[in-house]
Symmetry: C2
Subunit: 346 residues, 2 copies
């Protein structure tokens, strides 16, 4: 058990003295010390060198009074482990030379336990755990199977992932076969992340919100639920399904301990849809961190007032942006740490 | 009054024999006859040559039994009229050499009646009205002021319009001044579109969904509402605020006759939020038009069953995609035209 147990308590529904706080992509390009390493090592070198991944994970922890760390890595390590080798193309981002196009290509993909291709992640976790000295919990993560599916079919980022959706809607059987393979690899991977020391798991359904409610129920949620069910007895699992407000009600009835919400839903509505059945995490608009620090502090207080202090984890509604001044990120975190409800103010 | 008054009746809340149908971007790249003109003339030439714009508007009407036409044009004609000259860059899309960066640049922008710079649109409308011979109504449109703001600040399309949001959140006063200027130009423009013959106006708040509910209430909706209030006594106005399910309740209490909804909300939820106060339009996932025609037909029937036949306009949840087979678009439209409720089936 980490000494700071705010985050685990909030996820367990236990009473906390104040909400815990961390930021998605807290180890990222808004930090000058991150930029130094970014300029020196390319993206996958940073992910695949345990010392670098661990160092990057620890950078924000040294600066800010965060209540959780999250291992520096990428959701695309899973397709890479399956032999679908993504590279980072300048000005484009993730790039796969030969995206999956046919059912027979799906059939040829390996599945099951591919952890030997992912050893660098587990090593990074072990190094980080040693350095953290059980002060705060360490979060491990993976992309949702649908989100990984989007990348391996589209072969790159996209505004609407039209090719991925076309594949799902014209070859649904092959799509489900691929989603199941990704799911199986992911479960083994996350299991080993927990063995290596992760205290919490978060699933990022970054592109779930491209789907209609009915299609999300067919192509995304069932695979996430398999993962949640495989892990929830060992560690709490948080599902962050961006843009999927419509799925909050169903997801709140699952074994997930926490649900991430983006900034396009009010705290009231998110509570209403989830009926207090689950811990909520979010949902500060990352662009709002461009406001002056004193505005940020007011907005954070307001956000906590609206979510309530219990069963709540303060966070952004998506990853922090590269152009955020460090002092603004700090204002966000400190506003949570120093939160005092109106009733307790003198 | 057009002979086919399904669409106007649906917007007026009158009883209709079946829901009207049209498709956003129905004059577009999925049509081979459109591609011929696209290959011959560049984007703004097509917009700015009344004969071409009118011809493109009529192309889908000749093929399909649509209940409305929508003038071929672009939302960026407004910044162009204000002297912010967008071009179309290959592989990039809309491009502005010098995006707005400062309050003093905002101050220098013209506003008010700039219709003399937009005469080509009104001429295209008049030509189209003649050709339509009052068979079906003609829809005129504009971008929401927030959406135009996004483009003139960002200078191009974007995944998250981070620069536009940064401007709004760090220079709110200048942002509001710019939004008001765009609003004033847009009201004059749409007024003249109505004078030229448009029977219905639709506002596209394409990037409203990037904003939190509170920020949408500050930066987007009030400007759309000004436009709705300026026009609603002359023609019905439809507001399509993509991704803004959270604003449906407020918008349904306005003078808008119709609200467009995208595919990330169930018909039931959309009805619940709008309480039958307004006509709803949507919401077939454009990617779902890649399904086989027989699947499309089932899904369309299901969609109408869920929305109900009254106060409803069948449409997609966003513009039709370029890679949709023509017969699939046809299957969508015919499924609406031939809709028979279960109770009336033998």
């Amino acid at each position: 058990m980490p000494k700071n147990n705010l985050m685990l308590d909030a996820l367990a529904g236990k009473e906390v003295s104040r909400p815990p706080v961390w930021m998605m992509r807290q180890a990222g390009r808004y930090l000058p010390e991150f930029m130094e390493l970014k300029n020196e090592y390319d993206f996958f070198t940073r992910c695949q060198t345990p010392e670098l991944a661990s160092e990057i994970t620890l950078q924000p922890i040294r600066r800010f009074p965060l209540d959780a760390s999250i291992i520096f890595s990428d959701i695309l390590v899973i397709p890479n482990a399956m032999g679908l080798q993504f590279t980072m193309k300048p000005d484009i981002g993730p790039w796969l030379d030969n995206p999956i196009k046919t059912a027979s290509e799906v059939e040829k993909l390996p599945t099951g336990n591919l952890n030997e291709n992912l050893r660098y992640v587990f090593d990074a976790i072990k190094l980080t755990k040693e350095a953290l000295n059980d002060e705060i919990p360490l979060i491990g993560f993976a992309g949702s199977p649908w989100t990984i599916f989007c990348y391996v079919i589209q072969g790159r980022g996209s505004k609407n992932f039209d090719k991925a959706k076309a594949f799902a809607f014209t070859q649904p059987q092959a799509a489900h076969a691929l989603l199941q393979k990704i799911t199986d690899v992911t479960i083994h991977y996350l299991q080993e992340k927990i063995n290596a020391g992760c205290n919490i798991i978060q699933l990022f359904d970054s592109w779930g919100g491209m789907l209609s409610p009915a299609d999300h129920k067919e192509f995304s949620w069932p695979y996430m639920e398999q993962i949640v069910n495989a892990l929830h007895e060992q560690v709490p699992v948080i599902v962050f399904a961006k843009g999927c407000w419509y799925a909050l009600e169903d997801m709140s009835q699952s074994n997930a301990s926490g649900l991430g919400v983006d900034w396009t839903i009010t705290p009231q509505k998110a509570r209403e849809l989830t009926q207090g059945k689950v811990t909520l995490q979010g949902n500060f608009d990352p662009s709002r961190l461009l406001s002056p620090p004193e505005v940020i502090q007011c907005m954070v207080k307001d956000m906590i007032d609206q979510f309530g202090t219990q069963r709540y984890i303060a966070n952004l509604g998506h990853g922090i942006l590269p152009n955020i001044p460090v002092e603004n990120a700090q204002a966000f975190i400190e506003a949570v740490v120093n939160y005092v409800p109106d009733a307790a103010r003198v």
